[in-house]
Amino acid sequence: MQFFPFVVVVWILAVGLYGIVTSRHLVHLIVCLIVVQSSTYVLLLGVGYKTGAVAPYFFDVPNHTPAVDPVVQALALTDVVVEAAVTALLLAIAIQAHKRFGTLDPQELVELKG
C-alpha cells in the first residue's frame, strides 16, 4: 500500500503512451492523451495524502483536525479544467487537419507533405 498508487500512475502513463504511439485515428490519439494527463492528477493527489486525515475544509470539523495537503489539490483542480480547454483546441486542429488532408490517420498524415 505504500507504493501501490505510484505503480498505478506509471501503468496509466505507459498504457496511454502505448495508445498514442499505435493510434490510427487522431481522435483516438487525443483521448489517449487525456488518459496520460489524468495519470498526473492521480500522482499529485497521491503525494499529498496523509493517512487518517480529512479533506482540508474546516466548515464542519474543528480548526486543527489533521487534513491532507491543500496545495496539490489546488494544482490538480485548475489542471483538470484548463486541460479540457486545451483538448478542445487540439480537437479543432484535428478538424482542420481532416479538412486539409482528407484523412485522420496519423501514420498517413506524416507522409503527406504540402
Binding site: 505504500q2 503525494v47 491543500p70 483546441l89 479543432a92
Partner: protein
C-alpha cells in the same frame, strides 16, 4: 520498419521509462506519509488569516493567486484558439462553395428529431443546473466549490438547452458576441482585481477587501469571493464559446426551423 517492429521498439522503450519513473517514485516518502511542511502550515493558518474555511480555495485564489491568473489565461487563449480555427474554416467554406452548401444542409435534414423524453429531462434540468452553478461560483470560500467547477456547470446548463433540441434557443441565449464579451470580462476582471491592489500601493493580488467577521460566510474572505466570481464567468463563457463554435451553423439553422 513494419508497424509490428515499431510496436516492439516502443514496448522496450516504455519498459525502460517505466522502470526509471517507478524508481524515482519509490524514493518518495510513500503513500500516506506526507512529510509537510507547507500543507500543514496552510491548514493551520488559512482560516485565521483569510476567514475562508476552504483551504483549497484560499490556496488557489490567495496564497497562489498568481498561478491561477496564469492558468486562467491558458484557458482564455485555448478558447480563443478554438474560435479562430473554427471561424476561419466556416468563413472559407461559406465563401468557396455556394452550391455545395445546399447539399450539406439537405443532408442535415436526415438527422432524427430529438426524442420527447430527452427534451423534457433536459429542459427540466436546466434551471437547477444554473442554480447549482451559481451556488458553486459564489461559495468558493466555504465548501468544496469555486469558480472553475461552477463555471463548467454553468456552461453545462446552456448546453442542456441545445441538447433539448432547441438549437435556435441556444443561439439566442448565448450569441457569440455576448459570450466573447463575458469571457473577456471574466479574464480581465481577475487581472483587474490584482491591478487594483497595485494601484493601492500593495503587491499584486493582495487581499485588500475587508475580511468579514465570520469564517466561512459567503460575504467573508475579501477578494477570494470576488476572484471566484470572475473566474466562474470566464470559464463558463469559454466552454460555451467552444461548444457553440463546434456546432455547425448551416446544418442546425436549417434543422432548427422545424
Amino acid at each position: 520498419m513494419t508497424p509490428a517492429g515499431r510496436r516492439w521498439i516502443f514496448v522496450a522503450a516504455i519498459a525502460g521509462l517505466a522502470a526509471f519513473y517507478l524508481w524515482g517514485l519509490v524514493g518518495l516518502p510513500g503513500f500516506g506519509n506526507y512529510p509537510g511542511p507547507y500543507g500543514d502550515i496552510i491548514n493551520r493558518v488559512a482560516v485565521a488569516q483569510t476567514n475562508a474555511t476552504a483551504a483549497v480555495s484560499a490556496v488557489n485564489f490567495e496564497y497562489r493567486g498568481f498561478d491561477t491568473v496564469g492558468e486562467e489565461f491558458i484557458l482564455f487563449v485555448a478558447a480563443t484558439g478554438v474560435a479562430v480555427v473554427l471561424r476561419h474554416m466556416r468563413d472559407e467554406r461559406e465563401r468557396a462553395t455556394g452550391g455545395e452548401h445546399g447539399d450539406e444542409a439537405d443532408e442535415g435534414r436526415r438527422v432524427p428529431a430529438t426524442s420527447g423524453a430527452i427534451r423534457m429531462v433536459a429542459l427540466i434540468m436546466t434551471g437547477p443546473t444554473v442554480v447549482m452553478g451559481w451556488w458553486l461560483v459564489s461559495h468558493a470560500q466555504t465548501d468544496p466549490s469555486g469558480g472553475f467547477q461552477g463555471g463548467v456547470v454553468l456552461a453545462t446548463a446552456f448546453i442542456l438547452i441545445y441538447l433539448a433540441g432547441q438549437f435556435l434557443a441556444f443561439e439566442r441565449v448565448s450569441p457569440v458576441d455576448v459570450t466573447d464579451a463575458v469571457e473577456a470580462v471574466g479574464a480581465g476582471g481577475f487581472a483587474a482585481v490584482g491591478i487594483t491592489a497595485v494601484a493601492m500601493g500593495l503587491p499584486y493580488l493582495t487581499n485588500f477587501l475587508g475580511l468579514g467577521t465570520t469564517p466561512g460566510a459567503v460575504s467573508s474572505s475579501g477578494t477570494i469571493a470576488l476572484i471566484s466570481f470572475f473566474v466562474g464567468l470566464a470559464v463558463g463563457a469559454a466552454f460555451i464559446l467552444i461548444v457553440s463554435e463546434m456546432l455547425d451553423q448551416a446544418l442546425l439553422l436549417r434543422q432548427g426551423s422545424q
